[in-house]
């Protein structure tokens, strides 16, 4: 039975709309994954050299033993954030005459097929084979492998268990996250105990007593059965789905936007779209993280002013780029509704401009503390702010007319390639290159300030001629709307 489930799972993967995307994207994805894989592998292979550099006065094996548990601690944190529950897919089988046990076994087993379970092995095994096996013999090396595997599986099922429980009760997640945070703080901030010592105490003894490796192994088994029985007890639809228990959703108004009439209404709807759906919300939060971009570049004298243009553009316009690249896919699920209701497309576009302008303005004000690094930085930010709301918004909307890929708003953003197509790849080129095409010639003749001025003026000209661009975008849309709507209807 489990093999039948597994066969269906493979079919689901290969036949999903998400997988069936163009070859180009698959190649790019493949390269990215390979790159990440090779990076981790390189760290794994050179772990001995890195540990030598980090703890020059310590025994290599001791240092290695010290970091293992710390790794697993942070591994658990990342898992809680990112690991997906393998759940919803069982829905079509629940009513069929299939034994509960085989179901639950399948669910519990597939949970082990997660990329997260790969990393510890790539990271630690090269060291185990290179150094530990060499120093202490193959039996000890084997015990290390078993211990690491045990901890990986334990972490895997612990993370899933916490996630499952927190589906029923949101507090579980908060409490476990707080406990983890507290453990980390106790160690690294208050120095109440040291995870390195604990880790060393265990793995150090492993060298003299390889049989201890059974301990993590047993822990992993216990955690697996814990999961198994919990799932078996709770195999009901409402408890399996990834939805949190719903609280009362109230209607809200955004009075500030009301003054813009129907354009304001549309923008208010879009703000609600962003705040109430998982994926656009994480796009917005990612944008907030970009506010720290300046700290990387401004604290390092290595980067000159031409870099600041880049930094300024990203900090004030990351939302336009990150959110705008998927326009109008965000509204794919109700695009037909928009097309038949009494919404002027010009208004629809104006609402986008309004939204971009609001978010960019907020972002610009958030970057004002960078004045600490000199007023020139802030000036560059302002120039790029003008550029963003003038030029980049228009570029993004031009490409939005060429995007007909549906996005399911309820799915998370991490590792979600839905809606990614050639448009997004093409879009990044003009966004990144055009400011430099204008700026570099001036910069080459040491006229950086004139270069900035020209950038600012271009931005202002685009803002002043917005109505012209609106008209052009509308004409363009009128030709492409059937294709766009058709694409959005394809689930």
């Amino acid at each position: 039975m489990v093999s039948t489930f597994f066969g269906h799972e493979l079919k689901a993967f290969w036949r999903s709309k998400n997988t069936g995307k163009s070859i180009a994207i698959r190649v790019v994805m493949g390269i990215l994954i390979l790159y990440l894989f090779l990076n981790v592998l390189a760290i794994g292979i050179f772990l001995d050299k890195m540990l030598e550099a980090m703890f020059p006065n310590e025994d290599l094996v001791k240092a290695f033993c010290g970091i293992i548990l710390i790794y697993f601690l942070f591994d658990l944190l990342t898992r809680l954030q990112l690991q997906e529950l393998p759940t919803l897919r069982v829905q079509p089988y629940l009513h069929l005459p299939i034994k509960r046990d085989s179901f639950v076994r399948y669910l519990a087993l597939t949970a082990a097929f997660s990329v997260f379970n790969l990393w510890p092995f790539i990271l630690f095994l090269p060291f185990v084979f290179k150094i530990v096996a060499h120093d202490s013999g193959s039996v000890v090396a084997l015990s290390f492998v078993v211990a690491i595997a045990g901890l990986t599986v334990f972490n895997n099922y612990l993370a899933l268990y916490i996630k499952r429980r927190s589906n029923l009760n949101g507090w579980v997640f908060l409490i476990s996250a707080a406990v983890l945070g507290l453990i980390i703080a106790c160690d690294f901030k208050w120095h109440l105990f040291s995870f390195r010592d604990i880790s060393y105490a265990f793995f150090g003894h492993l060298i003299t007593m390889p049989a201890l490796a059974l301990l993590p192994f047993v822990l992993a088994l216990v955690m697996y059965y814990f999961n198994f029985y919990y799932l078996k007890q709770n195999l009901y639809l409402e408890e399996l789905t990834a939805h949190k228990i719903k609280s009362y959703k109230s209607s809200t108004d955004i009075p500030f936007l009301a003054r813009f009439g129907s354009v304001g209404d549309l923008a208010a709807n879009e703000i609600k779209l962003i705040l109430r759906n998982k994926r656009p919300r994480s796009t917005l939060i990612m944008g907030l993280f970009f506010m720290f971009y300046g700290l990387i570049f401004y604290t390092n004298n290595h980067y000159g002013q031409s870099w600041y243009i880049f930094v300024g553009m990203f900090m004030t316009g990351i939302f336009i780029i990150n959110y705008g690249q998927f326009m109008f896919s965000w509204q794919a699920s109700h695009f037909d509704g928009i097309l038949v209701s009494k919404i002027n497309f010009i208004d629809f576009l104006k609402a986008k401009y309004l939204l971009f302008t609001i978010v960019s303005t907020v972002a610009f004000f958030l970057t004002t503390p960078y004045i600490y690094f000199g007023w020139k930085r802030l000036l560059v930010h302002f120039v790029m702010y003008l550029w963003n709301i003038g030029v980049n918004t228009t570029i993004v909307l031009f490409f939005a007319n060429r995007n007909a890929k549906r996005i399911d708003l309820s799915k998370g953003a991490s590792f979600n390639w839905e809606g990614v197509g050639a448009t997004q790849m093409l879009l990044s080129l003009p966004l990144i290159l055009t400011p430099y095409i204008i700026y570099i010639p001036f910069s080459l003749f040491k006229q950086d300030n004139i270069g900035l001025l020209v950038l600012a003026l271009t931005g202002i000209i685009f803002i002043l001629t917005r109505n012209f661009w609106l008209k052009k975008l509308e004409e363009d849309f009128m030709q492409k709307r059937y294709q766009i709507a058709e694409g959005f209807r394809n689930k």
Binding site: K246, S247, Y248, K249, S250, S251, T252, S262, D265, N269, K272, L273, R276, N277, S333, H334, F335, D336, G337, L339, V340, S341, K342, I343, N344, L409, S410, M478, Y482, A485, E486, R489, N490, K491
Partner: protein, 251 residues
């Protein structure tokens, strides 16, 4: 109200809608029936300028629908959940739709208070986003948003499919009232032959994209339709079972 000329839609070499000529007059109440894949939804979508026909055109009040937006001011429609903005609460959505027609909140509240029976206390002030409502309740929101717009033309695709029996009767009465007392032109599709013959003066029967019957409803219409769909067949004659991919649901 609506005039269709030489309208054709072809998917992968198969003609899914082929309507040489059709006129729907102002104040008519038209029912569209036909098995799955007959082309009802495709026809609706072309009338609403959501898909591009291969040939022909649809005129609404004498103006071509494609490329014009005037018809949107007097046409209200609900085909499927894709018409609803699902991350809004029903209130927010209805205020938004009303707002598009320059209605104040007070006016909308007033209009909604008349729909209390229809909503059956399951829609408003429930603290749910539209996406968390059941299909039937989503349908109620869609129908309510249509009525809110005070349209001259109302188009509903299988409105009875997901709603409970009480709501079906209320909806029937509302549609009759809209047509008889307010003069709204209705175009409604349904698989429920009783309902459709009850509310419509004129029935269009579609088969494989073609309107094969255009009947003014009379006492014999239901019988006629039942005969067509095979309900009246006796058990000795087995109904041929044809497995057909459902075009409408497969988009």
């Amino acid at each position: 109200m609506i005039e269709i000329k030489n309208l054709k839609k072809i998917y992968n070499g198969i003609t899914v809608v082929d309507v040489p000529h059709l006129v729907i007059n102002k104040g008519e109440s038209v029912g569209l029936v036909g098995n799955n894949g007959a082309g009802k939804t495709t026809l609706f979508r072309m009338i609403l300028d959501l898909i591009r026909p291969e040939t022909g055109e649809v005129l609404s009040n004498g103006e071509v629908v494609a490329g014009h937006e005037n018809w949107k001011t007097y046409t209200a429609s609900y085909l499927d959940e894709g018409f609803l903005i699902d991350y809004l609460t029903p209130e927010e959505y209805l205020y938004f739709i009303g707002g598009l027609h320059q209605q104040s909140k007070a006016m909308i509240d007033e209009a909604l208070s008349n729909l209390g029976d229809f909503f059956n206390e399951e829609i408003l002030k429930k603290g749910k986003y539209i996406r968390d409502l059941s299909k039937g309740n989503q349908c109620k929101v869609g129908v309510a948003s249509c009525l809110l717009q005070n349209p001259q033309l109302l188009m509903l695709d299988e409105p009875f499919a997901n709603i409970d029996p009480s709501t079906q009767f209320r909806l029937k009465n509302m549609l009759k009232d809209a047509n008889k007392n307010k003069g709204i032109t209705n175009i409604v599709s349904s698989h429920d032959l009783n309902h459709i013959t009850d509310i419509c003066d004129r029935i269009l029967l579609m088969e494989k994209g073609v309107i094969i019957k255009d009947i003014a409803t009379s006492s014999s219409t239901l019988k006629e339709l039942e005969d067509y769909f095979g309900v009246g067949q006796r058990i000795e004659e087995p109904v041929p079972f044809v497995l057909k991919i459902d075009e409408e649901e497969n988009h």
